[in-house]
């Protein structure tokens, strides 16, 4: 009996595969956390830069959401339930596959860095939005859109640590960042998150601890959004 049902499941799954292969084009969106030209892989250890202040990256996690594909400025395809937690220590999160059912042609990709306010006030959610993912503030409701943590000699803090937990969904401190990029290769979309672009634009000696929604978080979120590019 058990064997039979296993066979059934296998047949079922493979037939679904077969059908989908016929009508859907898979689009691969890959995400590379980098520091300048180097890939930042936090799976087994922290990432040490060759920066003179012994800059080290320990944590990089962020949400990207609401993938929208456009052609000549018009929305032609939208991923449903589009919430993705990207974690530089978890390679599984660095590739997203979206099915393009009717082979729709597009030339632009829009998405958010962070979680929008309507989703934020909708109660408990699952998947990448589950609060067990560690990206939810407890003492004051709201998702942490982006976590960046590490060490630098510039920080006169305990263990020279810096910690940025950026979030906030209510005006005037809505930290959500809307991004749009022109796309030429529509099968493989390659998103780069270059931490160097953030570090170069802030002074770690004075700015090393942001943990709540406020104006500093808002300004820093804008800086962080500039670290994202598509090649």
């Amino acid at each position: 009996m058990k064997n039979l049902s296993i066979i059934f499941v296998i047949v079922f799954v493979s037939s679904v595969r077969f059908i989908s292969a016929q009508t859907n084009t898979a689009m691969y969106i890959s995400i590379s956390p980098t520091y300048g030209a180097n890939v930042v892989d936090l799976a087994d250890s922290s990432f040490l830069t060759n920066d003179s202040n012994n800059l080290q990256i320990d944590v990089l996690k962020f949400y990207i959401s609401h993938f929208q594909f456009l052609k000549a400025g018009i929305n032609v395809l939208e991923e449903q339930n589009s919430f993705h937690l990207v974690d530089a220590s978890d390679p599984k999160t660095l590739q997203i596959i979206i099915l393009n059912k009717q082979n729709i042609v597009f030339d632009q990709l829009d998405f958010y860095l962070g979680i929008d306010s309507i989703t934020t006030v909708s109660g408990a959610m699952g998947g990448d939005l589950d609060p067990t993912k560690g990206m939810y503030w407890s003492w004051q409701s709201g998702y942490i859109n982006c976590k960046l943590e590490g060490k630098s000699k510039l920080c006169s803090t305990r263990n020279n640590e810096f910690q940025f937990h950026l979030g906030g969904y209510q005006s005037p401190f809505n930290t959500l960042q809307a991004l749009e990029f022109p796309i030429s290769n529509t099968e493989h979309i390659h998103i780069t998150f270059d931490i160097k672009k953030i570090i170069e634009n802030i002074n770690l000696a004075t700015l090393n601890h942001v943990m709540s929604p406020n104006n500093v978080a808002l300004q820093l979120s804008k800086t962080v959004s500039k670290a994202i590019s598509i090649k």
Binding site: V121, G123, A124
Partner: protein
């Protein structure tokens, strides 16, 4: 043929039983407004409510397995903390606050005295993650629940999935809290014309309508807004209420207007539990109002009440006690 008739009978029975439990688990009392909680995302079922109730009373939520939600929200005091002005053992901002009574939560939009929590589902995260309160993370709580020999079955029964998630844990706790409806006080009987007020209570009701109902309106006895009711700031706590969340100076010293239902048992009163008696509360409203930029308009002009009138208002407030709520066996520690 016979089997089919039995089958139909069974269906009828199941459907009617279902409707019966639905109504008794969560209902909107006559004349009450539409709830603010979005039930479409978390439809009430008996198995979820029961699971939520078990979780509410289970110390598995705290790091050392000693404190449950009920430790600070006890049924017999309208789900507030017994006797402690400031819920103790809590650090930082929450530690400066008196735990509020829990009831009629489906009609509330924001939670906590300053509205820092935007949805009932998310409320349980605050005490769980607070270092000195329950000293735990939701991630670890979920793994403890998963390892428990009972919970995977209960989650399967409730959500059709024995893999426990943060989402399901929080939704179950919400379900139990949503059933905490208090709508059966003597005041309610009077409104339903099943009882009468005494002369004193009647006068108290009139005075309440004149002086208090703008912020504490019927039938919920709260307007669910944030107001400054003129309390002098406590110089050691320095709690500015809603300002801390919105950073907007217009919100300085504003706190959520609490319900007056079951106020006989929800002492001590106000966000920091500064008053132990209702007589002190009335003294505050008549002679303790502190002027400030954000003081509510209706309190700009002093409320004038004779000492008899104060006693009458208190007599009316006591009619808001709902024994069937405070002693409802469905809300108590699950003994099964």
């Amino acid at each position: 043929m016979k089997a089919r008739r039995y089958f139909l009978l069974c269906i009828c029975f199941v459907v009617s039983a279902f409707q019966f439990t639905e109504k008794s688990l969560f209902f909107v009392p006559d004349t009450w407004p539409k709830p603010k909680y979005d039930f479409s995302k978390n439809p009430i079922t008996e198995s979820k409510v029961e699971l939520g109730r078990k979780l509410f009373y289970d110390p598995i939520f705290s790091g050392d397995n000693t404190i449950s939600c009920a430790s600070c929200h006890s049924q017999y005091t309208a789900f507030t903390h017994v006797d402690h002005a400031l819920s103790h053992g809590i650090e930082d901002r929450i530690g400066t606050r008196n735990s509020p009574a829990l009831m009629n939560l489906a009609w509330q939009k924001l939670f906590m005295r300053d509205g820092a929590v935007n949805h009932l589902d998310m409320q349980a995260l605050a005490p769980i993650s607070n270092p000195l309160e329950m000293d735990e993370t939701i991630t670890h709580v979920v793994s403890k629940l998963q390892a428990n020999n009972l919970y995977p079955t209960l989650f399967y029964r409730a959500f059709g999935d024995s893999i426990i998630t943060g989402e399901h844990t929080l939704k179950a706790i919400s379900q139990f809290m949503l059933t905490l409806i208090s709508s059966n006080s003597r005041y309610d009987s009077v409104m339903r014309k099943q009882a009468n007020f005494s002369e004193q209570e009647k006068n108290g009701y009139r005075l309440y309508q004149q002086n208090c109902s703008s912020c504490h309106p019927e039938p919920l006895f709260t307007n669910d807004e944030f107001m400054n009711n003129g309390l002098p700031t406590d110089s050691t706590l320095k709690d500015y209420g809603r300002l801390g969340v919105t950073k907007n100076p217009n919100d300085s010293l504003k706190f959520k207007v609490p319900t007056l239902r079951n106020v006989e048992f929800s002492y001590p009163y106000m966000h920091d539990g500064r008053f132990k008696r209702l007589s002190e509360v009335l003294k505050h409203y008549t002679s303790g109002i502190r002027q400030s930029n954000t003081l509510a308009n209706v309190l700009q002009k002093p409320i004038v009440l004779t000492s008899n009138e104060k006693v009458d208002i208190i007599a009316f407030l006591l009619t808001l006690t709902d024994k069937s709520f405070l002693f409802n066996p469905k809300f108590s520690y699950p003994r099964k």
